[in-house]
């Protein structure tokens, strides 16, 4: 396990790449989602195929998540973008990278691309969207539920989740409740600085949106198409928000198509 000091915070990083001795064609950075997520959602799904396709694959746990350090404060979107900047600087990744973000990870990736358009070769948003006022309000509602129902009435909430969603989801929810209780994440994220329409439009690299057909986020496709100059969408029927871990082969294939178009991956 590699712990990397990214500007004063220790982040858990996993890096993989071609095993046949070839030099990687490009770097892809995989950013996971909020609360119940970690780099494991990539490590055991798309990462092996990306490495086999000749890519340098960087995965990391967001602050507070997985094996990364969990400071009590500092969980706005700007903190997460600054962590990504510091991490890539620390890893000496200088060329344009292909950024992939799942859920909130895509919001971080988009924020990074808006700040550094020249450093991003392509952007994949899996069940994700740029930070807007509507996004912040929605996250506020979700996080309020986590912090009230789960963090403060954990026993009843977990019994309900176990009965209706199963043991595995209940365990993940317990971890999410702990994170919400021990940190200011629930307050910080909805209070994040969001992007203006001009800042969103300034992202001109190829952007791939991947959505579950049964997810509300698929409704965002027309808006992304209106704002982004190079946007393509893939909607996978029969899936909801967890489309990355449910259909990794399909999702990974679309990402490789996008990355290959920009970087000459074989």
């Amino acid at each position: 396990m590699a712990m990397v000091d990214a500007g004063g915070i220790r982040l858990h990083v996993q890096r993989t790449g071609p095993t046949d001795g070839r030099a990687p064609h490009a770097t892809v950075v995989l950013v996971h989602g909020l609360l119940t997520d970690s780099l494991a959602s990539y490590y055991f799904t798309v990462a092996p195929a990306f490495a086999a396709a000749g890519l340098d694959v960087v995965m990391y746990d967001l602050r507070g998540h997985g094996r990364s350090e969990r400071p009590p404060h500092g969980y706005t979107l700007d903190h997460n973008i600054a962590d990504l900047e510091a991490l890539l600087a620390r890893l000496a990744v200088t060329g344009p990278v292909h950024l992939v973000g799942n859920s909130y990870g895509g919001t971080i990736a988009f924020g990074y691309a808006a700040r550094h358009p020249g450093r991003v070769a392509s952007l994949t948003l899996i069940e994700s969207e740029p930070a807007t006022a509507a996004w912040a309000a929605k996250l506020g509602r979700i996080l309020r539920r986590v912090t009230t129902e789960l963090a403060h009435n954990e026993r009843d909430a977990l019994a309900w989740i176990t009965a209706h969603r199963g043991h595995n989801t209940a365990r993940l929810a317990r971890g999410a409740a702990r994170l919400a209780r021990e940190t200011t994440l629930g307050r910080d994220i909805p209070a994040s600085r969001v992007l203006t329409e001009a800042q969103i439009r300034a992202v001109r690299c190829p952007v791939l949106g991947v959505y579950g057909g049964d997810s509300d986020l698929a409704d965002l496709v027309p808006e992304q198409r209106r704002l982004l100059t190079d946007f393509r969408a893939v909607v996978l029927p029969g899936h909801e928000h967890s489309v990355l871990v449910e259909a990794p082969g399909t999702v990974g294939g679309h990402i490789l198509d996008l990355v290959g178009a920009g970087a000459g991956v074989r």
Partner: protein, 106 residues
């Protein structure tokens, strides 16, 4: 004294189970839970309550012990979600034994 060095021990399910069991206890020790019975039918998810990030740590321990011959990420990437949830220690042990024998022969 035996003049010829012993042939490399064929990895057996028993020896690999003991080694994988030690690795799992290392992972579980992070939760203050290092005194767990681990057998071939023990499940990672339901019995050991391991989260997927714990399996990333286990993948690192497997690679430390066996080298790149055992790649947990590739093993699990070939499974669907429900298979991973139901995964037993025994299935991993069999995979390790198979991987070590295959690479030894090749």
């Amino acid at each position: 004294m035996n003049p010829t060095p012993p042939a490399p021990a064929q990895p057996t399910a028993d020896t690999v189970l003991a080694e994988v069991g030690d690795m799992l206890r290392t992972v579980l020790a992070e939760y203050g839970d290092d005194d767990v019975a681990i057998g071939m039918s023990t499940t990672f998810n339901r019995d050991l309550e391991l989260e997927s990030i714990d399996l990333v740590t286990l993948a690192g321990l497997l690679e430390e012990r066996y080298g790149q011959r055992v790649n947990l990420a590739e093993f699990l990437a070939g499974m669907d979600f429900d298979e991973i949830v139901d995964l037993t220690v025994g299935r991993l042990v069999e995979h390790v034994v198979w991987s070590l024998k295959t690479t030894q022969a090749g």
